[in-house]
Symmetry: C2
Subunit: 401 residues, 2 copies
């Protein structure tokens, strides 16, 4: 080995940490633990029989193309299907506005790759999805957190921040927002707030990255139009993924944006993995064409609604006074806030003893705040485990109190 390996690593690698969540997940994989820690879809939702049928069909009918290198932009059929779904919703795009990525996480890597120089500022919610924060940090982004209220990112604080930056001659590279069933907060941004934030982004001439992994998992209430659609001027870059509405094991996502942005993403992707698996893209395309996607999505929604309801009912039944939680209209997560004087990290140890696990809310806060918060996933465990887990968690909280 070279004499001082550490000195050879890049500045970015020197700052890398293993994902707190993924490492925690390893701790919580003991089979007697009820884990609300992951962000995993329920395996009950995986369309195994349909995939057997389609896998064989793809190999039989288009095996030579499916197993070969594909184009960096993605499979044309799949891109057309996705574009047509957006167009049906009234979003005015063509296939030139869409590139397939190796799941959303790749998009979260390519976006800073094409926009961020070390030291550049990026605005995100307090809290925000950890995988995005990690990806942005890898490129040396300096994250500026803006608090959420019950409508998502606060527009007044965002404008104040942008105004202060402007006074110093600065501008962030983009604003990162998860408007639907936010990870980790479970909050959905109403149209009025979306419009406010878009107006601010336009006023200060800043791009918005709209991360939208859960939007189609709505259990109740009216679907909100995407920020991409509400803007319509190319200020918004939208990230979609099949991981939560189909299967994560296919690693398949996409980016919708102005063609000049897509063009750079395609170039960056060429040097990153050349192309996403053509085999899996062709399976996904047929899955849509056969109507399986819409059929199964309905089933996933119904099953997650029941699981969420079970968790919320258990909260009401077992949680001591002073504990607050969000009540998401969809998605996979809700967010729990302990009284200010309590510490979720200490609670975590007690909870593991009680055989229940969660993720510390603090890991989602780029400023290190959120000591008394935690994220709970309600999609992976069964309805009964959700009830029993909340009971155990409430006992742990009472013990800590």
């Amino acid at each position: 080995m070279v004499s001082d390996l550490n000195s050879v690593f890049s500045n970015s690698a020197k700052g890398m940490k293993r994902s707190a969540i993924r490492e925690l997940l390893k701790l919580t994989q003991r089979c007697d633990i009820i884990s609300f820690a992951g962000g995993l879809p329920s395996p009950d939702s995986f369309p195994i029989e349909q995939l057997k049928e389609i896998s064989c069909e793809v190999l039989e009918k288009e095996g030579a193309q499916a197993l070969q290198y594909g184009s960096t932009e993605g499979d044309n059929k799949l891109r057309e299907i996705l574009v047509n779904r957006y167009r049906k919703d009234g979003v005015d795009i063509t296939t030139n506005n869409l590139v397939i990525t190796t799941a959303s996480q790749q998009a979260l890597d390519l976006i800073p790759k094409i926009f961020v120089n070390p030291g550049d500022k990026v605005i995100c919610g307090l809290p925000s999805y950890l995988g995005a924060l990690s990806a942005f940090s890898t490129y040396g982004a300096q994250m500026i957190g803006i608090r959420l209220d019950d409508k998502g990112m606060r527009a007044d604080l965002l404008e104040k921040e942008l105004e202060q930056m402007k006074a110093k001659g600065e501008k962030p590279k983009f604003i990162y927002i998860i408007p639907d069933f936010q990870n980790p907060a479970g909050i959905t941004m109403p149209e009025s707030r979306r419009l406010e934030i878009i107006a601010i982004a336009r006023k200060y001439d800043v791009l918005i990255v709209e991360d939208s992994p859960y939007r189609e998992l709505r259990f109740e209430g009216e679907p909100q139009r995407t920020m991409l659609q509400l803007d319509g001027t190319g200020h918004v870059i939208l990230l979609g993924t099949m991981s939560k509405i189909f299967v994560p094991g296919f690693r398949m996502g996409w980016v919708v944006a102005h063609e000049d942005v897509i063009d750079k993403i395609v170039m960056a992707k060429q040097a990153t993995d050349l192309c996403t698996s053509a085999y899996l893209q062709k399976i996904a395309a047929r899955y849509f064409e056969k109507g399986y996607f819409d059929q199964n999505l309905k089933k996933i929604i119904d099953s997650y609604r029941i699981k969420r309801d079970a968790m919320l009912a258990a909260f009401r039944k077992y949680m001591p006074q002073g504990v607050k939680w969000t009540e998401p209209e969809g998605g996979l997560f809700l967010f729990l806030t302990l009284p200010e004087h309590m510490n979720a990290e200490e609670l975590f140890k007690i909870a593991i003893d009680q055989k229940v696990a969660f993720v510390l809310g603090s890991v989602f806060h780029c400023d290190g705040s959120g000591h008394n918060t935690m994220r709970l996933n309600f999609s992976f465990m069964s309805k009964e485990q959700n009830e029993e887990g909340v009971k155990r968690l409430a006992a742990a909280i009472k013990q800590q109190m």
Copy 2:
């Protein structure tokens, strides 16, 4: 759209160009053109029937795990299989030394991510695989090219370069080498040269990145031990891939290295795509377990040998005096050198008129040299097309002469 999108792009994105090869490929996809331009395996080698069988088996027997998120390190079974293959060859590694990547191209992105700060120097062959040069450049690497002779990278020139750098207090981050059936040159480095280069790397305390996508595609002659094995001290990082010995459409590769390097690669991969498709990894693992891998590899080798021989015979038959070519013992490519006064770019236009295509050798030269060289692929077209294509190419060369 923001008022000046170009000003928002990162320095790295501002320098991005679409891959010359992938763009050329689009031009050469006219069905009447015999294209030696791509680096594509032959679709005849794709084990479609076996994959139908195994895809169904994986979905049936381990569907829930296959379709879920996997670990960043990769599927344990597949890692064990790969490690055991190396161990059987006498390479002393454990699964802690191996991580699965989303094909080799991802490894070529993760390596500079963990080692390269903008302006850092990286040494490569003249010529070298374009996808590596592009990936390294994305991170701001300054590429230093070292000429090859018929044994691969020249050790004397390498040492001279390292000595000059040392005099200036500089050191490259790593030396990038493709020792077996080099892309694009088709040259294999004998053990003596490998040992020389390893000794130099140790003397100057520099890492070696050994890119090894073709090593198992040997048509004749003795297999050479990998530089990883010859070194044995952790100076070498080896990249492997399933793309040329199984199918490219699975996007599956791996890195073998010292555990501290693997550890950083795993962290970098977490922020890049979380994990490689568990479904495809489980299919690949079963493909090895059933003995299909070794069976098919033999078939691929036999078929490519015939195609290479056809191309070489046609060269001898049709090429005018003054044209030279390499005679690779394996892999997918050979390299052709025109007389010094000729220009491959001008020839390209004549060749397209003659309905034959190749890749300009200059794109593989980080210093812009190689104006009179070209890379030819012999694996994708049929034996007959290889013969006819060389005939057309020779006619184009004669016309230009």
